[in-house]
């Protein structure tokens, strides 16, 4: 039986691991490699690591860090941040990363997705779609550059376009729910799920394992991404890397 995936999402800022709220106020959590080693011990399904500085600074991906992460990681790794070219994607895959996440580059130049799919295979091409409610009507809109730029694109339509170009997975990231821990944006997820047939991973809003349980109850096979709940404990948000053990996970899945 194929199982839904519970995926911690780690953010890199100034070389350290951070957690944001609504894509702002990064709080320092610790060293990314240390965190990854703890997640290894906890037998995490999969891990997403996003460098939130690279696109803003126009910097190259940090290949040294990526190589280090990939070699330590005993579960599948998805890496994103600052990726603009197929050559960069190819290089990251060759460093031992299973999946590469492309975000703003897919908005600026959609052919990067079809080119990447033919070079490294669709299964390794993830499109991250940051979504924020905008304007008076609070419409869901695709945004980029850490939510500082609006694109006018509808998330469901854009996701479908990415699927047709050869993406292998869509990651929907809700800016409004990021770090807020009040539940996933189920309306947004429903819109995107209806528009594509690809594996979908959602991020933003998970505040408890119950939120994940509810998501799996609704969608079965889905990637349940989360940041805060896997790095914080308690109402004072003390930093503590955690993840459900095997029994707890079975309970989330078999509803």
């Amino acid at each position: 039986m194929l199982r839904p995936r519970l995926i911690p999402c780690l953010l890199i800022h100034n070389g350290g691991l951070v957690k944001t709220v609504n894509f702002t106020n990064p709080k320092y959590l610790g060293d990314p490699i240390n965190a990854l080693r703890i997640f290894n011990e906890k037998e995490v399904d999969e891990l997403i690591v996003l460098d939130i500085d690279a696109t803003i600074k126009g910097a190259e991906p940090d290949y040294q860090l990526i190589s280090h992460l990939a070699s330590e990681c005993r579960m599948p790794l998805c890496y994103g941040g600052g990726i603009k070219t197929v050559e960069q994607i190819d290089k990251i895959i060759s460093l031992g990363v299973e999946k590469v996440a492309v975000s703003s580059a897919a908005i600026d130049n959609t052919t990067i997705i079809s080119d990447a799919a033919s070079r490294v295979g669709s299964q390794s091409v993830v499109v991250v779609i940051d979504v924020k409610k905008t304007g008076l009507l609070r419409r869901q809109e695709v945004v980029s550059h850490n939510a500082s730029r609006r694109t006018g694109l509808n998330p469901a339509t854009f996701a479908r376009q990415m699927e047709l170009l050869g993406a292998g997975e869509i990651l929907i990231n809700s800016v409004d729910r990021d770090g807020v821990m009040n539940g996933y944006d189920m309306d947004l997820i429903e819109q995107v799920r209806q528009s594509i047939n690809l594996p979908l991973t959602v991020l933003g809003g998970a505040g408890s394992l119950n939120d994940i349980k509810e998501l799996i109850r609704c969608y079965g096979i889905i990637g349940a991404g989360a940041g805060s709940i896997f790095v914080f404990k308690g109402k004072y948000r003390a930093v503590l890397i955690n993840y459900p053990n095997r029994l707890e996970k079975e309970d989330l899945i078999l509803t």
């Binding site: 995936r5 070699s71 005993r74 999946k99 295979g121 669709s122 292998g168 997975e169 047939n197 690809l198």
Partner: protein, 204 residues
């Protein structure tokens, strides 16, 4: 010594780390001599079939691999696309495969899937060993990470070592003599994968 075939695809370092943790010698193989010096060979692979075959061809290791696998009959383990490359050909590409196993590589039939998620087959799934084999020894209901849209269809049923299910039952591990393959990624599958890689190191 286990040779990890390094032709620019697949996570060589992840295998090296697991073997270091197990105290078993393993190193990247970049030359024909590296392959000749090894007792076992792991052929990793990710990405598109033709791209993987082209890179293997360009690496200059192809002839030495054929020699060590078909001639010397060293145990060899192909991973993911590395397993698919051992077949005659793939629906995904035009370039012929290595032809070490009498098999073809096909795309999943998505009309058989109930869920909204079709391809790739991505995530953790069960592998059901069909018979006793050292590769799966000590593994009770093992679970592995899969990431693929194509799978191997072996001509001979007796070559199928384990199956998994995604809409249809497919070959998730294969064995023809000294040639082994897993469609899943043992190097990314926690203790189930570590045990399998440990078992592979024990094969004679």
């Amino acid at each position: 010594m286990i040779a990890l075939v390094d032709f620019g695809l697949g996570n060589i370092q992840a295998f090296a780390n697991i073997y270091r943790y197990l105290g078993i010698e393993a190193a990247p193989a970049r030359t024909a001599d590296d392959l000749r010096a090894a007792s076992r060979i792991i052929l990793p692979g990710v990405g598109a079939f033709d791209c993987a075959m082209t890179r293997l061809q360009e690496s200059g290791l192809r002839d030495a691999l054929d020699e060590e696998v078909l001639g010397t009959k060293k145990p060899v383990l192909g991973i993911c696309v590395g397993m698919q490359m051992m077949a005659h050909a793939s629906e995904e590409g035009k370039i012929p495969g290595l032809g070490w196993i009498n098999a073809m590589v096909e795309k999943f039939d998505t009309s058989l899937l109930e869920s909204k998620t079709y391809l790739p087959h991505m995530g953790w799934n069960d592998a059901n060993p069909l018979r006793t084999d050292t590769l799966f020894s000590g593994l009770d209901n093992p679970r592995y990470y899969f990431l693929h849209s194509y799978f191997m269809r072996a001509e001979r049923e007796e070559d199928v070592l384990a199956t998994s299910n995604y809409g249809e039952t497919f070959t998730s591990a294969v064995r023809f003599g000294n040639v082994y393959g897993t469609q899943f990624h043992p190097e990314k599958s926690h203790q189930w994968g570590v045990q399998l890689l440990k078992n592979f190191a024990k094969l004679t």
